[in-house]
Each structure stands twice: as C-alpha cells, then as structure tokens.
Assembly symmetry: C2
Homo-oligomer: 279 residues x 2
C-alpha cells in the first residue's frame, strides 16, 4: 500500500520554492510577502498560523500576522484589507478561518483584491473556478490534493472520483477543480444514501467528511486511491482522519497526520509564489 | 411514460405570476421591468429574445431590448449597465448569450449589480451558489430544471443524479444547485469514460451535452427520470434533444422541444419577480 506522503512532498516543494525565490532575491527583487489576518485567538488557528509562518521562513518568504481582537468590527478589518490591497510589497493575504459569527465572511473575502486572494475563496476566483478560467487562484486545499495526486503520478483525467463533502473550502472547490481536470466527479455528503455505492466503484475516493471511520473496510475496493482530508481531534488529544481500514488494503492512501494537511500549507505558498510572479 | 411538460408548466407559472404582478400593480406599484442587452444580431438570440418579450407581455411585466451593434466596445456596454444599475425602475437585466469574442463576458457579467443579475451568472451570485447562500439568484436554466422536477413531485433530496455537461450556464450551476438541494450528484462530460456506468444506476439523468442520441436505449433503466437539456438543430431545420429512446421506456422524460427550454424563460421571470419584490 503506497503512502501519499504529504510531509515529504511539502519538503520537496519547500526546497524548490526556496531555490526559485532565492534567484529572484539574488536578482534584486523583494521576497514574496503574505499577510495573515487573524481575528481572535482560536488555539487551533494559532497552530495553523504557526505552520504557515514556519514554512514562509523555510522558503525565504515573509509572512506577517495582523491579529485583531475577537470583537473587532468588520469595518476595521475591511480598512486593513483595503490598505493591504494597495500595498505593493504585499503579494497575498488570507483570512484565517474560522471567523467568529459577527463577521460576515463572504463580504470580508470579497474585499481582498482577487490577484492577492491566495486562498482563492473570494467571488472572483470562485467564479473563475466555475468557468474553468486558468487565470484564477485555486483554493489551497484543492490545489494541495491535486498536487499530492499529480506528484505521485496518479492520473486525474478520465478517472471516476468520489468526493465526500460539499463545503466551499474543500468539497465544492475540489469537485469543481477535478471536473476542470477532466475527472468524472461524484459529490457526496451527509444526505447521500448508500454511500458505499459511490465509494466502491470509484478510482479515487477523497473524503472530507470530518467523520472518523466513515471510510472503512466495507466502503473500499483494492486498487483504489484514497485521500483522507478529515481532521478530527480524538479524546486522547491525537488527530485522526476519516479513513479506518482494519483488514483491507488499497493501492495508495494519504495518512492523517502527514498527508493533505501538510499540502494545504505548501499550496498556499505555491499560490503566493504565482501571485508574486504576476505582480 | 410521464411527460415532463415544460410548456404547460410555463403557462401555469405565467398565470400565477400575472396574478401576483396584477395585485402589486393594483396597489399602485410599477410592474417588474427587465432589460435585455443584446450585442449583434444573432438569429437564434433573436428567437430567444422574442420568447422572453412575449412572456413578459403575457404576465404584465415590462421587457426592454437594448440592442448594440456587433462591433460595440465593452466600455459602451459597461456604461449602459452602470446606468441601469442606478435606475430604480429596472429590476433585472441580462446579457443575451452568446457574445462575440471581442467582449470579455465575465467582466460584463460582473458589472451587473448582483441584486439585478436575474440570470444569476455573475461572480457574486455564483459565489453564493457555491456557498449555498439562499439569498443568491440561481441561474435560470438550473432553476427551470429544478422547478420542472419539483412541480412534477419528483424528489431531489437523497437522489442519485447524473448531470452530463460542465458549462457555467448549465452543467456546473445545475450540479451545484442540486448538491445544495441534498442530491448526490455525478458530473459527467466529454472526457467521461463509460458514460453508461453513470447513467444506468442514476435515479435522475439530466443531459446537457448537445449531442443527439448520447442518451439512448443502452444508457437508461426503467424507473428513471430523464431531463433533456440538449438543443441541436437538425439538417431539416427541426430541433432535437440529447435523448433518443427507440425500445425502452422510463418513468418520466422531458421532451425537446416543449421541456426545459420553456422552463428557462419562465425561470428568468421567476428570478425577476424575486428581485422585484426585494427592491
């Protein structure tokens, strides 16, 4: 059973990005700069932000945290985004999710200049994704999963792919990206009846349900590729994915941790490097 | 074999919209007003525009055609859209497709104020569709197909629906709408291998391939619902759909002509009536 090793691939991407950025900097250019907007002090967000800051440092990019109080008004956040839109030294920005309920997320996302929207979640980039306009920025998790497959020489075009999940962040943006890459995509979710009917015959299963064990021995067939996007914290403080195979083996599988989560960080910086080159 | 009669349903929607609009007008309100922007003189577009103008007249709404020369610049069209955005007497506008190549369609679509974008094809409404934000306007063809199913008491939630096509206008916006309505959706297209695998076991097949006969006896099973969105002009000047069944029967089918095409016009005015009530 081949392991789709996100940690290893992330490290290869880091090396390659570092080389490319070095050569820009050696030619007198500034390095790429990402601004991370955080509202409040969610401990899980703090961990993800730390990972992003560390990766930036590793590749020779700059990542700056703009942290706001939990109770900040949307107006103040929007004013900061407008300032960053105009700042030529900033090549990309993201809003660390989740946001507290009093902030209108889509409005905030849509204030980010599409060319700097490196999470690819604003209306203009999502519109481009739906229209298959290649100038758009693909949401980081979707790009991470696609990169994980492609770099492991797993073909996407013409394949029968079952995606479990329908969020903006993963399920829908991933389904759209895979359709654009010529896969036949079945999008399943909590209201899907007889899920195994859709997983058993798939070439590739991508599970972003956040439900440990939803992909088990009964759901899979040998020769399948399984990508596990689930991240659930267990009672003992560890994290586990959606996949739990006891008896069966498949052709390839991405582990949790060390799979897609790693790729999301790397892809964010692949997106940043694209916007950097375009600006 | 039940016929999903778009013509009859369109006429029922017309009656119901007329009654509702009459009661607004009798209370001293202006009637709903749609502006259709046409660039050039495409004869097929002329037919569709005529259908829309006729439907508007039938329901007591106003439809105004703003026709531009084939060679008009985007700037002039955008200036008109900006004027219409500010005009409180206009409740909705659409750009009649297809556009000639020199006009950047997404830019034009995104100039239309989202609250007046009654074709639902601009970035803000597509973003809402992807996020399942119910305040968005659903693209008219997708809404037409969903209305055709629902008004014929065909359940969507929990069903296994295969959509053939991946355009912004139909395939993708329809797939997204159906996912939002809790269907499990498989999106197929020209690069799908073994299409019959995905059609045979579906509860509902919706074909928007524009390829006559792509859905034939070998592709279907009894008890299925088939919605035919294909419109192809044959050599003898008639139009035909994607479905050609010689021996088999299914539970229900929408005819071409007289099926989805009729519903698209009706749904455009359902969208217009929604924006009218909201403005």
């Amino acid at each position: 059973m081949k392991i789709l090793d996100g940690r290893k691939l992330k490290s290869e991407i880091a090396t390659s990005l570092k080389n490319e950025i070095d050569s820009f900097v050696n030619n007198g250019k500034n390095c790429p700069k990402l601004v991370i907007i955080q509202i409040g002090d969610n401990p899980v967000s703090n961990i993800y932000i730390k990972q992003k800051m560390n990766f930036a440092e590793q590749i020779g990019a700059k990542a700056v945290l703009e942290k706001f109080d939990e109770k900040v008004s949307s107006d103040i956040v929007v004013a900061k985004i407008k300032e960053l839109n105009l700042d030529n030294s900033v090549h990309g920005m993201i809003v660390q999710l989740p946001l507290s309920a009093h902030i209108d997320l889509p409005n905030i996302l849509n204030e980010i200049k599409p060319e700097k929207d490196v999470d690819g979640l604003g209306a203009i980039n999502i519109h481009k994704l739906v229209r298959d306009d290649k100038t758009g920025i693909i949401p980081a998790t979707a790009r991470g999963i696609i990169t994980l497959l492609e770099k492991n020489d797993i073909e996407i075009a013409g394949k029968n792919i079952t995606v479990i999940g329908r969020s903006l962040l993963v399920g829908k943006s991933l389904s759209l990206s895979l359709i654009n890459k010529n896969a036949t995509v079945t999008t399943c979710h909590s209201k899907t009846k007889n899920l195994f009917q859709f997983t058993k015959n798939a070439d590739i299963i991508i599970s972003a349900a956040g439900k440990p064990g939803i992909i088990n021995d009964d759901m899979v067939s040998e020769n399948q590729i399984i990508v596990d996007v689930g991240i659930t914290k267990t009672e003992d403080g560890n994290i586990c994915g959606d996949v739990k195979l006891d008896k069966k083996t498949v052709a390839a599988i991405s582990p949790v941790p060390g799979g897609v989560g790693q790729m999301t960080v790397a892809s964010l910086f692949l997106n940043l490097f694209d916007t950097y080159k375009n600006q």
